[in-house]
């Protein structure tokens, strides 16, 4: 059971991360050591700025490919007791942390998971919950995760003109606890009679493919000083989508713990979906980007998914509620075969890089993918075969993170190690990840 769960999780992470990693996360320890910045005109730059398709790679800096050394997976297997439902050490918080921060790389400093006692004080007309330090896990603001991925881009490029088809997916899930439930869970506020304790939730997931026509090329100057521009138009065809908006919780009655049914669950959600097999969603969108290179200086700006709004002509709309009398969930049809719209979040990226001429390269990047802005600044100093790296970043939760690392280059190979702090867990505590990878140039 335990190993099956670990395998499932691992497979999920790999499937989920493979496309994301190319664009936002990195399997590259060099980037990890510089706070996430890429100095090699790949990663997020190539993903979000189409002009980079035409900018030549920096000599000796861009790897043909990078192989991560997934030491973190061994760590997960070692800790897998925490995922064993049959074990008294089963720890859903640790499980959630692994989902929020996929453990491809080794965690030098793990984010601690509270293992304190939880105390319930119960009377006929009172209930107080003391979660102890675990109360800090209760999110006070909207909590969720999401991302847009281009899973594949298959096509042909001739003289800067690219024609192809890209496969895309977008998901965004979030919830926010209501005030009464938040106080009850975090502040040991006694439960009250005739009160609703609920949380608001919303989510959307959509996927499809998009025939694409684009161009990227140098529009002015030469290879040492020039302006590069890129643009692409996508005709989005959505294969399937689902969205849900609603509230879920419970309502207390006149007395908390008396009578046959003192508390009633309450669920009210509006669900819209278009299953595969129904009519595709349709919509246009585009990407645009520009890069200016002059000697050691490079500046770029790109926007993705401009105006990407899909119209789904064959949507089913249902209202899901909890039937207290029947004690089960019920679903009622609101409308079928109706039109609905979804959109893909617009992503912006701005970057700059500077070769200082002393084997030092510095760079910075600002990325907003519709779910908050990240800022990354990093520097690399090369001394013979040795590279020393450092960086600082601000993550989507507006927390400052640090990165540092080193690497050794042996001809066409390099072995790199990067360390980075992160707050990708349920609690606000920081962890430290050690990334390691081999690059082949």
């Amino acid at each position: 059971m335990r190993h099956r769960l670990v395998l499932l999780l691992s497979a999920g992470w790999l499937v989920g991360l493979a496309p994301v990693a190319r664009g936002q996360l990195s399997f590259d320890a060099r980037r990890t050591g510089m706070g996430g910045v890429s100095l090699s005109r790949d990663g997020a730059l190539g993903r979000f700025n189409p002009a980079y398709q035409a900018v030549p790679t920096r000599t000796g800096r861009s790897a043909k490919f990078t192989i991560p050394i997934p030491l973190g997976l061994f760590q997960v297997l070692k800790d897998s007791t925490a995922f064993d439902f049959d074990s008294s050490y089963f720890n859903p918080v640790a499980l959630a942390n692994y989902i929020l921060h996929p453990p491809l790389f080794y965690e030098v400093k793990k984010v601690s998971t509270p293992t304190n006692d939880v105390e319930f004080t119960i009377g006929r007309d009172s209930l107080i919950v003391d979660l102890g330090s675990a109360s800090q896990l209760v999110p006070t603001d909207r909590f969720g995760f999401g991302g847009t991925s281009r899973l594949a881009d298959i096509g042909l490029t001739i003289k800067g003109v690219h024609a192809g088809v890209l496969v895309w997916e977008e998901h965004d899930v979030g919830f926010q606890l209501g005030d009464t439930l938040l106080r009850f869970l975090r502040e040991q506020d006694p439960a009250r009679t005739n009160t609703t304790y609920a949380s608001n939730g919303d989510g959307v997931a959509q996927a499809g493919f998009a025939p694409t026509l684009g161009y990227a090329g140098r529009v002015w100057g030469d290879s040492t000083r020039g302006i590069y521009m890129g643009a692409a138009v996508h005709y989005y065809l959505g294969v399937t989508y689902a969205s849900v908006v609603g509230t879920a919780g419970f309502v207390t009655s006149d007395t908390l713990f008396a009578g046959s049914n003192p508390v009633s669950p309450t669920v009210d959600a509006l669900v819209q979906y278009s299953k595969p097999g129904r009519s595709f969603g349709h919509g246009f969108g585009g990407d645009i980007g520009v890069v200016y290179v002059t000697g050691p200086v490079e500046v770029g700006f790109g926007i993705n998914d401009i105006g990407a709004k899909l119209t789904w002509s064959d949507t089913r709309v249902e209202r899901d509620t909890f039937d207290t009398a029947a004690n089960n969930f019920g679903s009622s049809l609101v409308a079928d075969h109706v039109s609905s719209k979804t959109k893909l979040p617009v992503t912006y990226v701005a970057n700059a890089a500077l070769e200082l001429g002393t084997n030092t390269t510095a760079g910075g990047m600002i990325l907003n993918n519709g779910r908050g802005t990240t800022i990354q600044i990093g520097v690399e100093q090369r001394v013979g075969p040795l590279a020393l790296r450092g960086g600082v970043s601000r993550d989507q939760r507006k927390r400052v993170q640090l990165g540092w690392g080193t690497g050794l280059r042996f001809g066409s190979f390099s072995l790199d190690v990067g360390f980075a702090t992160h707050s990708s867990s349920l609690s606000s505590a920081r962890g430290i990840t050690m990334a390691s990878s081999i690059s082949i140039y």
């Binding site: 925490a82 439902f85 049959d86 008294s88 050490y89 089963f90 720890n91 859903p92 918080v93 640790a94 998971t113 509270p114 293992t115 304190n116 006692d117 939880v118 105390e119 319930f120 004080t121 119960i122 009377g123 006929r124 007309d125 009172s126 209930l127 919950v129 979660l131 102890g132 675990a134 896990l137 009850f184 869970l185 439960a191 304790y197 419970f250 207390t252 908390l256 713990f257 008396a258 009578g259 046959s260 049914n261 003192p262 508390v263 009633s264 669950p265």
Partner: protein, 182 residues
């Protein structure tokens, strides 16, 4: 027999919140008396010498938060107290508390506790409040827990025993579980 249910909110809270405690324990402090406040009412008694009566016999149920059936009961303790205001005669007041999962066998359950106050003449005797450990039976991790309370008065041979008693002034359960909600 009174049926009191402890459902819904505690169950929902426990079901959700136990997720947060990992290797930690779930501790339930239950004010049992609040479910049956009549147990704290003063009961007068007059018992002829050499006889005994059961002045109080009550049972009621608590429905504990669900999903804890696989949890290990770490420890259980009972805090209880009562007061005897004896006016005349000598004898004893016996307080018994039972716990069972079977409503038809509450007062024969082996999971029980008893304490005695001995009185002689005009006298006030206080039992407790004192906390005593109970056998950590698996019934304390089940959804439904039946509580039985019995108060008896036995007069010594001779003059009648008379007075008043507050059978239960405090009755609280502390159940400590090594939680395992799946």
């Amino acid at each position: 027999m009174v049926v009191t249910r402890l459902t819904g909110l505690a169950a929902a809270a426990a079901g959700v919140l136990l997720l947060g405690c990992g290797e930690g324990r779930a501790i339930f402090n239950i004010d049992v008396l609040s479910y049956e406040p009549g147990l704290a009412d003063t009961v007068p008694y007059v018992v002829p010498g050499g006889t005994a009566i059961t002045g109080l016999r009550d049972s009621f149920s608590l429905t504990l938060p669900g999903g804890l059936g696989n949890s290990t009961v770490d420890s259980v303790s009972l805090l209880y107290g009562s007061t005897v205001l004896n006016a005349a005669g000598s004898g004893k007041f016996i307080l018994e508390v039972f716990f069972s999962s079977d409503p038809s066998a509450v007062f024969t359950s082996p999971v029980s506790f008893a304490d005695t106050a001995i009185v002689a003449g005009p006298d006030t005797q206080v039992i407790g409040p004192i906390s005593v450990p109970l056998f950590a039976d698996t019934l304390f991790s089940q959804n439904e827990l039946w509580v039985g309370v019995r108060g008896s008065v036995a007069a010594d041979p001779g003059p009648s025993l008379s007075g008043k008693v507050v059978p239960v002034s405090v009755l609280r359960l502390r159940i400590v579980l090594q939680d395992k909600v799946f």
